[in-house]
Amino acid sequence: MQIEFVINNENVQLEIEPDEILVSIIRAKLGLTGTKIGCSEGECGACTVLLDGLPVNSCLIPAAKVHQREITTIEGIGNMQHPHPLQIAIAQAGGSQCGYCSPGIVVSAYALLQEDAHSTKEDVIDALTGNLCRCTGYNKILSAVLEVSK
């Protein structure tokens, strides 16, 4: 089946199998490998993307569902040439070790700041509950996000 959607501000048309999963078309068909597959069951948040501006687990979403909708991946938020302040802050604070959770964390934190540019610690914790990190212990991620949201 054919689907059309906007991804990182670009229009895309794709031929997909009806039961393809969003994260796999993002990575394998569109080559946007910043979004990671962690658990494949919507628990870890490594696959977080924005769907119409809202963070969702792309490992749980049928690709068919995003027809005529808008997706933002980590690549649409920042990259090596133009990193987002969240990416700089997290990297400099030591809030990224293996880096696998980091794109999902940035996407979730970005969505929070879009909603409320000056978030409290409770807001940040609440926004990041769906993003697991096995390396850093979260504190440096938290302080980096709070720094950016001041």
């Binding site: 089946m1 199998e17 009806p18 039961d19 393809e20 999963i21 796999s24 394998a28 494949s40 069951e41 919507g42 628990e43 948040g45 977080t48 769907l51 809202l54 963070p55 969702v56 687990n57 749980l60 979403i61 049928p62 068919a64 569902k65 027809h67 979730s108 969505a111 609440d126 926004a127 509950t129 769906g130 993003n131």
Partner: protein
């Protein structure tokens, strides 16, 4: 990657199209809203692959929260996030607001729906106990165009089982708006503060007039195949003054109204302890507000 879960994905724009599709596929199609439960059932092979998914999130009538004739109607496509954004619901049904906030994570709440949570009928569904205390009703549409309304406690039959025919869909859940004489609370006990399935959850509503308890509703989840209203505990509370209510047998009566099991999250005996303590503590908290 495709895991051979379904062969066709339909996104009808009208209820009549949904019914045509369900007629066509019989029991080989499933309704999908957010899909956060259904998708995993399919991808983890807990259910057989289906012919088709019928996505109901583009049906305009299903996407809204409406207030009409003293009732709140929450459409089948309304997400948990939408419910949380409603300051009206936060004000009139704070126990539902709190329960929804304790579900999963933002990523899940942005696509998962309250109606989906009910139809999925996990005994631990967090959206369910508050709705049981509001005496909520489920609105069902059949292929013939018939509509029926069922009390939620009749709709949910058992673990992952609801009273729904293959050609029927739930269009909304509704409940009368509780008036301000009611106070309500919700608690969820899990192994983590977030991203946790409830070990026990509880919603309580209580009404006090002239210092006497005139109404009580206690709904307990994750301690029986379905949510249980602790009717004898509720009845026992009626007539107590706020000062004397601590002497009421309600916590023990609540314990005797449930049948928890041992499972990987907790033992039955721990759950019974939770029921007793939660009923007692929540009653104390609610009665102090008078």
């Amino acid at each position: 990657m495709t895991l051979n879960m379904w062969k066709k994905y339909h996104t009808p724009l009208k209820v009549s199209e949904v019914h045509e599709l369900l007629q066509y596929y019989g029991d080989k199609a499933r309704i999908i809203a957010g899909g956060t439960d259904l998708f995993l059932d399919l991808s983890e092979k807990r259910i057989e692959p289906v012919e088709a998914l019928v996505d109901v999130t583009h049906i305009p009538d299903f996407q809204s929260i409406e207030i009409n004739g003293g009732k709140v109607y929450i459409g089948a496509g309304v997400t948990f996030a939408q419910i949380l954004r409603s300051s009206y619901l936060k004000q009139v049904v704070p126990s539902l607001h709190k329960a929804v906030h304790m579900i999963a994570s933002r990523q899940i709440r942005n696509i998962a729906t309250l109606v989906g949570n009910l139809v999925n009928a996990s005994p631990a569904a967090d959206g369910a106990p508050p709705l049981y205390t509001y005496n909520a009703a489920v609105h069902i549409m059949s292929g013939q165009g018939d509509k029926r309304e069922m009390p939620i406690e009749k709709f949910v039959l058992g673990v992952r089982k609801v009273d729904l025919q293959p050609d029927e869909i739930v269009s909304a859940v509704s409940f009368p708006i509780p008036d301000e004489s009611w106070r309500m609370s919700f608690r969820k006990i899990g192994l983590r503060r977030s991203m946790a399935i409830a070990v026990t959850n509880i919603a309580i509503m209580i009404r006090v007039q002239n210092d006497v308890i005139t109404g009580a509703r206690i709904a307990l989840g994750a301690v029986a195949p379905t949510v249980v209203r602790a009717l004898r505990a509720e009845q026992a509370l009626i007539g107590f003054t706020t000062a004397e209510a601590g002497k009421c047998e309600a916590p023990e009566l609540a314990v005797s109204s449930v049948k928890p099991i041992d499972d990987l999250r907790a033992s039955a005996s721990y759950r019974l302890t939770l029921v007793r303590n939660l009923v007692r503590n929540q009653l104390n908290t609610l009665l102090e507000r008078y």
